[in-house]
Amino acid sequence: MADAAAPTGTLRGTLGRMRRSIEPATLSAFGCIAVLLLLGSLYSSSFLSPEYLLQQLKVASFLGVIATGMMIVILLGQIDLSLPWVVAVGGMMATAATGWGPIGVALAIPVGIACGVALGLVNGFGVAFLRLPSMVVTLAVNAVAQGLMVVHTGGFSPQDASSPAMRFIATGHSLFGIPNALLVWAAVGAAAVFLLTRTTFGRTVYAIGNRERAAYLSGAPTRTVVMAAFALSGGLSAFGGVLLAGYASKAAQAMGDPYLLPAIAAVVLGGTSILGGRGSYIGTVAGVILITLLQSILSVMQIEEFVRHIVYGVMIIAMLLVYGRSRRYSA
């Protein structure tokens, strides 16, 4: 009897742990995805075909990579509004590097990411050391990045076509026809999960998000961590820009603009508290897929553009009202 009971006990224990570790918000987000697919399949059965779903996951990968950085910053209780032009800097500097000859072609992707990291470090310095509100620091860096890119394109007319490597990671297919972009997102996601749950860095990010003063008093290197988090966010945004430039085979000035709001919405819909300290990466994954599906279904149904915007906004508000509400009064 005891032998038979033990495995079921552990199984139940594992299931219980799993249920507890997945937050209700994440479950709601996945529930919303299921409802969306169901509604879509009523319209056309092709919404459930593997090709369509794989295509959506590929499109979601770009937002997924970008939202990963945003999530880490939001976990700190901060926000990164420099995302639009850091994405553009990533894409444009990578393609510009491609024009520098063979070495540039080889270094295109790292150059793009490095530029994003540099801008992220400026953000991080302003927030961590100058103690300025992240909303204005990142806004200012966004404006500077825009100015730099305008001077860069206008003054030096750099190359804007992406390198073969960029096109390969953004549009190619590898094993079993899985899009490379999806594999890239999976790798970034796995690294993020490891970083957030298994390292001191991740623990400190959550601690700072809950109460920075307590984290500081516990001896955590809060300023370094904040700076590193913003650098990560900048690097990932720029990497997203590199991927987007590869996907469209060219970089453009306003390429990052459509990604700021979806990135924040995806992170928040995935159950990460905008006040910081709470949230899981699996939730962000759900949020990213949810936003991508919502946009795709609205455009596939050939609804007029203005209705799409209205529905998009109303859906985000509605979903947040269901499970994203904050406590009644904050100090």
């Binding site: 509100p133 204005v136 730099l148 206008g154 924040i264 919405a265 905008i274 009644r328 100090a331």
Partner: protein, 327 residues
């Protein structure tokens, strides 16, 4: 009254600094302008400045309650599109149309407020989502740029009064006297400041938190729609431009920061934000006066904004206890 001037000076320091910085910049601009400072140059500069100042005022009201309104630009665009449709025709029709535009702005602001207050969502995500909705409505009203506005109204608002005074400045002054000052001096206005300083303390003191926030958000929408109406007067047309909306939202935050309004809420004034907005506009014009390549203008504006933001770090020098750095 006489003994408390250091306190009063401290309270208005941000506003005064913004005014001084603007005065210096505008003086440089005016003295170096090729045509000199005549009424037309002043009117042109005033029209551009007032447009941003109106949006900045709208942003200030929400920021004072320690919120943020990322939909001000879109409310302006929406009002611009609606104005280009209904503020036309005879005098009474134009007046009714203008009232409807302002009403719509108030409704947009109130929707933001209601969702933030009763839905208990964070202002930043709420206004991101509602700005998508407002943009959709604007697009429905104006699928392609165009439309018209009553020419008499447009000329009156963008022209000159009493032989030389820009009418837009009079409009701005009227709004300060009729909207901002009554709000600032009313119990509701004080409540808005209290909510921005500490919502918990305000709640414990029996301050009408919800009413204060709702009034702040509604007035913010109203001011944004005045900006939209004014934009229509300048351009004589309506355009559902997402880029325009986003730009004005970002510039409004920049103006608020330059104007010495704390983004943490509870301190600053709309008058400071107005000077912040005028300053931000003058920076752009300075480049034109000094014949710098227009190519460098965005970078220059970004660097000035960065410098202004970094001025906020001066408070670090006054911190005695390191723990005060960590909230």
């Amino acid at each position: 009254m006489s003994g408390d001037w250091p306190y009063r000076l401290r309270e208005h320091r941000g506003t005064l600094l913004a005014f001084l910085a603007f005065a210096v910049m505008f003086a440089i601009y005016a003295f170096n302008h090729p045509a000199g400072l005549n009424a037309n140059v002043a009117t042109n500069a005033a029209n551009k400045g007032v447009l941003l100042a109106l949006v900045a005022m709208a942003q200030t009201l929400v920021v004072l309650t320690s919120g943020i309104d990322l939909s001000v630009g879109m409310v302006m665009v929406l009002a611009n599109c609606l104005a280009s449709v209904i503020v036309v025709g005879s005098g009474p029709a134009t007046a009714l149309g203008a009232l409807a535009v302002l009403g719509l702005g108030g409704v947009c602001g109130a929707i933001n407020g209601l969702i933030v207050i009763y839905g208990r969502l964070q202002p930043i995500v709420t206004t991101i989502a509602t700005s998508a909705v407002y943009y959709g409505v604007a697009l429905a009203l104006r699928r392609v740029p165009g439309g018209d506005i009553n020419a008499a109204l447009a000329d009156a608002l963008t022209g000159q009064l009493f032989g030389g005074v820009p009418a837009s400045l009079v409009l701005l002054l009227a709004l300060v006297l009729l909207v901002w000052l009554p709000f600032r001096r009313s119990a509701i206005g004080r409540a808005a400041y209290a909510v921005g300083s500490s919502e918990l303390a305000a709640y414990m003191s029996g301050v009408p938190i919800r009413r204060a926030k709702l009034v702040a958000y509604t007035l913010s929408g109203l001011l944004a729609s005045v900006a939209g109406l004014f934009l229509t007067c300048i351009t004589y047309s309506g355009e559902a431009s997402a880029a325009n909306g986003n730009t004005y939202t970002l510039y409004s935050i920049a103006a608020v920061v330059l104007g010495g309004v704390s983004l943490f809420g509870g301190s600053g004034s709309a008058i400071g934000a107005i000077f912040g907005a005028l300053m931000f506009r003058t920076i752009g014009d300075l480049l034109f006066v000094f014949n710098l390549e227009p190519l460098w203008q965005p970078l220059f504006q970004g660097l000035v904004l960065t410098a202004a933001v970094c001025l906020g770090a001066v408070r670090l020098l006054r911190v005695r206890n390191r723990l005060d750095l960590y909230g």
